[in-house]
C-alpha cells in the first residue's frame, strides 16, 4: 500500500518538477535562475529533513556544508574542467567529510547543546572563510573564475571570454527552447533540468530512506532515545549517518549552486543561511516527504519576487482605483513588500509555527479534509 502510494507520489512529483517552467509562468517565477534555486534549495531542504525531520536533531550549522560544497565546485572549475560532474562529485565528497568531522564532534551532545555546537562550528567556518582563509576562499568578494585559471582538462576557449559550466557540452545557462504558451514566454534551460533531475533523485533517495529500517531507527531516536539506549542500541552511528547524509545533500546543493552560477561567497556559510533551511523545512512540514521542497519554493519565492515589488509596481496594481484609494492601498501594502519582504516572511513563518505545527503540508491536509468531509483516508494521500 505504502509502496504504491510512494510510487504515485514520486511520479506526480516528477511531472510537476519537469513541467515547472510552465506551471510557474503565471506567478512570475518561471525564469531559469529562480527555478534553479527552487530545485537546489529543495535538495538542501530534503537533506536537512532527513536529519531534523526524522531524528529531531536541530542543526543550525548546515550552511557550512553548503558553502564548502560551493568552494569545492568552484575550485574544480578553476583547476580541472568546466564540466560540472567532477565538481559535483567533489562537492559531495568534501561536504561529506566535513560533516563527518562536525557531526562526530557535535553529536556527542543532544538537544539545545547540539544546536549550539553546530551553530558555533558553522560560525567559526564562516568568519575564517571571510578573513584568514581568503587565499582559499577569496573572502569578501567570493571565489570566482578567472581568465588565467589552468582548467587542465579543457581545451582553450576563445581568448578573453570565460568558458561556461556545462555537462558534457550542455551549457548550464543556455535556454534550449523558448516557446510561447498561453501568452507566456517560457524558458526551458539546461541548468534547471540538471538541477531538476538531481532534485528528483534526491526525492527518491529520501523516500527510500524514510521507508527503510534505517529510517525507522531514526524515527525511534526522535521518539525516545533513552529507551533505545536502555535496550542496548547505540544510537550514535545512526544519527551520525543521518548527519553525514544531510551534509552530503547540502554539499550537492552547494555544488549545484556553483554550477549554475560559478561563484562561492562566504555568506553562504553564515548561520542565518543555516537558519533559513530550518525555516524551509518547518514551513513546508518537517518529517514529511514533500514539505521541505514546498518550504524551499515558498521562501525563495518571497525573497526574489516580493522583494522586487516597489511602490511604482504597487501603483500599477491599484491604478484602477480612484487616486486617493489607490494611494491608501499603496501606503497600506508597501511596508510588507519590496524592502519589507522580511517582515511578511517572518510573520507568515510565525503563523505557520503557531497554527500549523505540521507546516504547509498539514495545512493542505486540513483543507483537503474540510473539502472531502471527515473522510480521513482520502485526505491521507500525503507522505506519512
Amino acid at each position: 500500500m505504502t509502496l504504491m502510494r510512494d510510487r504515485t507520489l514520486l511520479i506526480i512529483f516528477t511531472l510537476f518538477v519537469l513541467a515547472a517552467p510552465l506551471i510557474f509562468a503565471p506567478t512570475g517565477a518561471a525564469y531559469p535562475d529562480l527555478l534553479q534555486r527552487f530545485a537546489i534549495y529543495g535538495i538542501f531542504a530534503i537533506g536537512f529533513n532527513i536529519l531534523f525531520g526524522l531524528t529531531g536533531y536541530l542543526s543550525f550549522g548546515h550552511a557550512a556544508f553548503l558553502g564548502v560544497g560551493s568552494y569545492a565546485a568552484v575550485w574544480m572549475f578553476k583547476l580541472l574542467s568546466m564540466n560540472i560532474l567532477p565538481a559535483l562529485l567533489l562537492s559531495v565528497l568534501i561536504a561529506g567529510l566535513f560533516s563527518l568531522v562536525v557531526g562526530y564532534i557535535s553529536l556527542r551532545r543532544s538537544g539545545i547543546y547540539f544546536s549550539i555546537l553546530t551553530l558555533a562550528l558553522a560560525q567559526m567556518s564562516y568568519v575564517l572563510a571571510y578573513s584568514v582563509l581568503t587565499p582559499l576562499t577569496n573572502g569578501e568578494t567570493g571565489l570566482q573564475l578567472r581568465l588565467d585559471d589552468p582548467r587542465i582538462l579543457d581545451a582553450a576557449g576563445p581568448e578573453g571570454f570565460l568558458p561556461s559550466t556545462n555537462l558534457f557540452g550542455l551549457e548550464m545557462r543556455e535556454v534550449f527552447w523558448s516557446p510561447t504558451v498561453f501568452g507566456y514566454d517560457l524558458q526551458f534551460n539546461w541548468g534547471y533540468y540538471v538541477s531538476a533531475v538531481m532534485l528528483i533523485l534526491s526525492f527518491w533517495i529520501s523516500i527510500r530512506i524514510f521507508r527503510s529500517p534505517f529510517g525507522l531507527m531514526l524515527r525511534a531516536i526522535k521518539t525516545n532515545q533513552t529507551r533505545l539506549k536502555y535496550t542496548g542500541v547505540s544510537t550514535r552511528p545512526y544519527t551520525l549517518a543521518a548527519f553525514v547524509i544531510s551534509g552530503m545533500f547540502a554539499g550537492l546543493a552547494g555544488g549545484l549552486l556553483a554550477s549554475m552560477d560559478p561563484l562561492a561567497g562566504a555568506e553562504r556559510m553564515q548561520w542565518t543561511v543555516g537558519g533559513e533551511v530550518v525555516l524551509m523545512v518547518v514551513l513546508g512540514g518537517m518529517g514529511t516527504l514533500i514539505g521541505p521542497v514546498l518550504g524551499a519554493v515558498f521562501i525563495k519565492y518571497f525573497e526574489n519576487i516580493f522583494s522586487k515589488i516597489n511602490d511604482s509596481v504597487l501603483q500599477g496594481w491599484f491604478a484602477f482605483m480612484p487616486g486617493w484609494l489607490d494611494n491608501f492601498f499603496v501606503t497600506i501594502v508597501s511596508p510588507f513588500v519590496g524592502k519589507g519582504w522580511g517582515l511578511t516572511l517572518g510573520a507568515l513563518f510565525m503563523i505557520v509555527v503557531i497554527f500549523l505545527p505540521g507546516g504547509l503540508v498539514d495545512g493542505a491536509k486540513r483543507i483537503g479534509r474540510k473539502i472531502t468531509g471527515a473522510d480521513r483516508r482520502a485526505a491521507k494521500v500525503e507522505s506519512k
Binding site: 547543546y113 551553530l119 519589507g340
Partner: protein
C-alpha cells in the same frame, strides 16, 4: 601591567553586557522552561526605547528664520524642542540626561512588552517541543527587527551620554599607578556599576522577597508549588516581564557605547546563548560568571601580542573564533557548563 589592567576593564565591561542578557535568558529558561530566541530582540527593543525617548524629547517647534538660508537657498527652519519651550532649563536637563529618562521609561515599557509576549505567544508553547519554541521566537525576532527597521531605518542612531558622564577618567591613578597609563571611558564604568546593581537587584529580589522565594520554589518544582494552591503561572509571567526589563535596560544603557541599529539583537543573541551554555543551562550565577569570564577572555584574545603568539602556533585570527571555540570545548568537556546541573535539556 597597565595593558593587562585595561583589558581586564574591557573584559568586565563587555562581560557585564553579556551577563545581563544571559541572566534574562536564564531566568526565562529556568522559570518557564522556554528557549527564547527573541531575547536579543528584547535587548534591541530596549535600545530603541532610548532612541524613541530621545526623539520624543526632540519634538520641536519650527520657526522660520529669514536671516539664514538652508541648502536650497530657502529661509532656514529653526527647531526649538517643545520641552525646552515648556520647562526651560529643566527641559534642557531632560534632553541632556535622556539616557536616564529612558531607563525610567524602559522599566514599565519592557515589563509590559515581556508580559504581552508571554501571555500572547510563549504561553501557548509550554507544552510544545523546544525546537518549536526556538522557531517561533526566532520568527518573532525577525518580525520585531523588521518593524524597527521600517520605523527607524537601518543606519545606527547615535545617543550621547550626559556631558557629565562623557569623556574618560584616569583609572590608573585611582588604583595607585602612574598617571596617564590606564585611561578608561567614564560611561563604560557607569555601565559596569549599573549592571552590577541590576544583577544584585535581581538576585536580592529572588532571595529575600516572598515573591522571589515562591518563584525559586516554582523553578525547583513547579507542580508541588502549584498543588500548594499558589498561582505560580502569574508569578512566572511577571518573571518574564522582569527578564525582558533586564534585557531592555542592558540595551538602553548600551546605546552611548554603540549606536543602536536594528540587527544588534541578533549579534548578541548567538553570543548570549554561548554564555548561557558555558555558564550552565538554568544556573543564574553561572550565567553571570560565564558572562564576565567570556568577556575577559575575548578581550585578552584581541590583544595584538596574544593574537600574534597564538597565530605563531598555527591558529590565526583567534580573536574572531575564541568565543565559539570555548563553547565547543566546554560543551565537549563539561556539558553541564560551569555551574549547571547535569541532564537539563538533553532530550
Amino acid at each position: 601591567m597597565d595593558a593587562i589592567l585595561l583589558q581586564v576593564l574591557n573584559g568586565i565591561d563587555k562581560g557585564s553586557a553579556y551577563a545581563l542578557i544571559a541572566l534574562g535568558l536564564t531566568l526565562i529558561f529556568g522559570t518557564l522552561g522556554v528557549v527564547n530566541f527573541a531575547h536579543g530582540a528584547l535587548f534591541m527593543l530596549g535600545a530603541f526605547v532610548a532612541v524613541t525617548v530621545g526623539k520624543i524629547l526632540d519634538i520641536s517647534k519650527i520657526t522660520i528664520d529669514p536671516e539664514r538660508l538652508d541648502f536650497l537657498g530657502n529661509p532656514a527652519k529653526i527647531r526649538t524642542p517643545y520641552v525646552t519651550e515648556w520647562f526651560g532649563d529643566f527641559g534642557y536637563w531632560l534632553i541632556e540626561w535622556s539616557v536616564l529618562v529612558s531607563v525610567v521609561v524602559a522599566i514599565p515599557v519592557m515589563v509590559l512588552i515581556g508580559i504581552i509576549m508571554e501571555r500572547g505567544l510563549i504561553k501557548h508553547f509550554y507544552n510544545r517541543p523546544h525546537a518549536d519554541q526556538i522557531l517561533v521566537t526566532f520568527g518573532l525576532a525577525i518580525v520585531l527587527q523588521n518593524i524597527i527597521k521600517a520605523v527607524y531605518g537601518a543606519n545606527p542612531i547615535p545617543q550621547s551620554a550626559p556631558d557629565l558622564l562623557q569623556g574618560s577618567v584616569d583609572f590608573g591613578v585611582l588604583v595607585g599607578m602612574t598617571k596617564d597609563t590606564v585611561i578608561y571611558p567614564l560611561w563604560r564604568l557607569v555601565y559596569f556599576i549599573f549592571s552590577m546593581v541590576l544583577i544584585g537587584g535581581v538576585f536580592a529580589f529572588l532571595r529575600f522577597t516572598t515573591f522571589g522565594m515562591v518563584v525559586r520554589a516554582g523553578m525547583a518544582d513547579r507542580e508541588t508549588v502549584g498543588l500548594l494552591g499558589i498561582n505560580i503561572d502569574r508569578r512566572f509571567t511577571i518573571m518574564f516581564g522582569v527578564a525582558a526589563a533586564v534585557a531592555g535596560l542592558a540595551g538602553v544603557m548600551y546605546t552611548p557605547i554603540s549606536p543602536p541599529n536594528y540587527p544588534m539583537g541578533m549579534d548578541f543573541l548567538v553570543l548570549s546563548f554561548v554564555v548561557v551554555v558555558v555558564g550552565g543551562m538554568g544556573s543564574l550565577p553561572g550565567a553571570v560568571l560565564a558572562g564576565f569570564l567570556l568577556g575577559i577572555i575575548e578581550s585578552f584574545a584581541s590583544m595584538p601580542l596574544i593574537k600574534d603568539a597564538i597565530a605563531a602556533i598555527g591558529l590565526p585570527a583567534i580573536d574572531q573564533i575564541i568565543i565559539y571555540l570555548i563553547a565547543v570545548i566546554v560543551l565537549l568537556v563539561r556539558p553541564r557548563g560551569l555551574m549547571g546541573k547535569t541532564g537539563i535539556m538533553e532530550e
